[in-house]
Amino acid sequence: MVATTFLDGLLLDIRANLATIVIVDTFAIWLIHKIYTSDKTAKANLFFSAFSLVFLVWVNGGFVFAFSTDLKFAEFIGKVILADVIWSFIFLYFFLSHFPTERGRSAKGDFLVLVSGSLLSLLVIFTDEIVKGSRFTQWGVDPVYAEQGRLIYYIYIATLIGSSLFQMLREYPRLNAVQKRKAQLLFFGLTIFLSANLVFNVYLPISSGSIKYWQFGNYSAVILIFLAAFAIATRQLLEVKVVATEVLTLAIWVTLVIRLLGSSSSFDVFVNVGVLVILIPFGILLVKSVKTEVEQRQELQKLTQKLRELDVRKDEFVSVAAHELRAPMTAIKGYISMILDGDVGEIPEKAKDFLGEAITANDRLIRMVNNMLDISRIEENRLVFEMGLMDLSEVVTTAYREYKVQAEQKGLDFRLHIEEGAKAMVNVDKDRIYEVTSNFISNAVKYTDKGTVVVSVLTPNPTTVRFEVVDTGPGISPEEQKKLFQKFYRTESNIGKKLGTGLGLYISKLLIERFGGRLGLSSEKGKGSMFWFELPLVLT
C-alpha cells in the first residue's frame, strides 16, 4: 500500500478511519436517541431508528472488513455486511412508506419485500452464490463476487430503491407545504448518499476494479441520517442553539476520549482523565442550561400567542356585549322619555327631575357603549371616515361655544385664542375631529373648579397646526400621565366622583393618529394641565 497524496494517506490511515467512525457513530446514535425518544409510538420514528442502526452496522462493518488482516474472517464480515445492506434498504423502504405521511401499502407488497429480502440475505451469508471470498488490494480488503450473483444482488437493491423513490414521488403532489419541505430534505439526503455509493461502491469498483474511496460511500450515510432526522424533527427538537451546544459538547468529549486512548505516558493518562472528568459535568450543565433557556423562550412564545388570542376574543366579547346592551338601554330611554313627554298624563315636577337624572345616567351608559363599539371599529380598521379639508379654527370655535355656558356657570375664566393669521386647514373627518376637540375642552371644564381654561389654535411651524387646552385644574401626576391614553384608564386621584368612561382619551389618541397627527399632555400636580394635539397642515 503506497500513499502518494495526503488524501490517500488519510484513506489508508486506520486511526483516521477509526476517528471518523467514532464521530459518525456518536452523531448518528445521538440523532437516533433524540428522534426515537421524542415519540416512541410514531412508526416513522421507529423505522428511522431501525434504518439508521442497520446503516451504522454497514458503516462499522465496512471499516472492520476493509482493514481485516485475515481473509477468512473478512469473507464472513463481507457477507454479513452485504446482507445488512439489504436490510438497510428494506428499512429505508418502510421508513419512506411512513414519512412524511403514512401511505396506503399492500400487505402483499410488504410480505414480498420481507420474504425476498430474507431469502437473498440467507443466500448471501450461507452460500457463495453472491460473494465467493475476499482479497487484499491496495486500498483495503475487497469482496470477490460471483458475477451473476452480483448482478442479481444489484438488481434487487436497485428495485428496492426504485420502488421507494417511486412511492415518494407519487405521493409528493398530495403533500402540504410543510410535508413537501420534509420530503425535499429527505430526497436531498438520499441523492447524496445514493450518488456517493453508486460512484464509489458500484461504478468505480466495477469499471476500474479498485475500491479506493469506499469510505465516501459508507460515511455519507451520516448525511442521510442527519437530513432524515432533521426532516422528522419538529423545530423544538432540533433547536439550533441546543443542537450546537450538544454537538460541541459531544465533540469535546470524543476528542478527549480519543486523546486519552492515544496517551503515551501515565502522566498523559492522568492529565487526560483529569480534563475529561472536569469537562463531563461541565458539558452536561452547559447543555442543560441552554435547554432550559430555550424551553423558557418557547414557553414565553406560547404564552404571548395565547395572550394575543385572548385579546382578540376580549375585543369580540366587548363588541358583542356592547351591542346587546343597546336594546335594553333603548327601552329604558324610550319609556322614560314617553313619561316625560306626558304620554301617561301629568306627573309631579319632582318626578320629572328624577326621571331626568335617570335619562342622563342612561345616556352616559349609551355613550359608553357607543365608545366601546367605536374603539373596536377603529382598532379593527372598520370605521369609515369621511375625510375632507376643513379649518380647524372653525371646529374649535364651535366646540368652544358649546361649553361656554357651562364654564361661565362654574365661574371659570374661559377663553378662546386663535393665533392671528393662522391657516388651519387640515384633512380630517369633521365629526370625529369635533369629538376630539370637544372631549379635551369638556374634560378641562369638568375638572377645573376655579381659574382659567384657555383653548388655543396655533401654528408652531409652517407644516403643523396645534390645538391646546390649558387649565388650572388639579393636575395629573407623572404616573397617571403615562397611563392616561390607555384603554379603560380612568384617573383615580382626588377628583372624586368626576370620572369618565376611561375611553374618551383613548379614542382621541386612535383618531388623531389615524389622521396622521400626534397628541400629548403636560401637567403638574396642583398647577393644572395642558392637553394638545398636532395635525399636519394642508397647504392651500
Binding site: A327, P328, T330, A331, G334, M338, V384
Partner: protein, 127 residues
Amino acid sequence: MAYMESDNAVILIVEDDDLLSTMYKTKFESEGFKVIVAGDGLAGFEMAKKHLPKVILLDVMLPKLSGTDLLAQLKKAGELSKIPVVMLSNLSSEETIREAEGRGAQEYVVKANSTPQQIVDIVKKYL
C-alpha cells in the same frame, strides 16, 4: 296628541326584540296610529303584502331574513316598493347605514340615540 290627519294609518314595525316593539307600538298607538308588528324578516314581508302599511319601521338584525335583504325585496315588489321604509336599528356602522340607504331606505335611525317621540316625528314626515 293623536295625529288626526293620518288617523288609523297603518305602521308596520319589523322588530324581533319584544321589549322594543312593544314600546314603539305603545307610542305609535298613543299617537293614534294603527300598528302591526312582525317578529322576523319573512313575516315582515308577508304583512307588508297583506296590509300595505303607510310606513315600515325596519330593524336590520332580524331572524330568517335580514332587514337590508327585506328592504331590497320590498323595493323590487311593485306596489310595495312605494312604501317609505325607515330603518330602525342599533347597528350604527357606516357600512350598514350606507348599505341601507343604497337599497332605498328613506332614513336610518339609530334606536339608542332617539326617543320614541323623535321616531314618531320622523314617521310623520313620510305620511
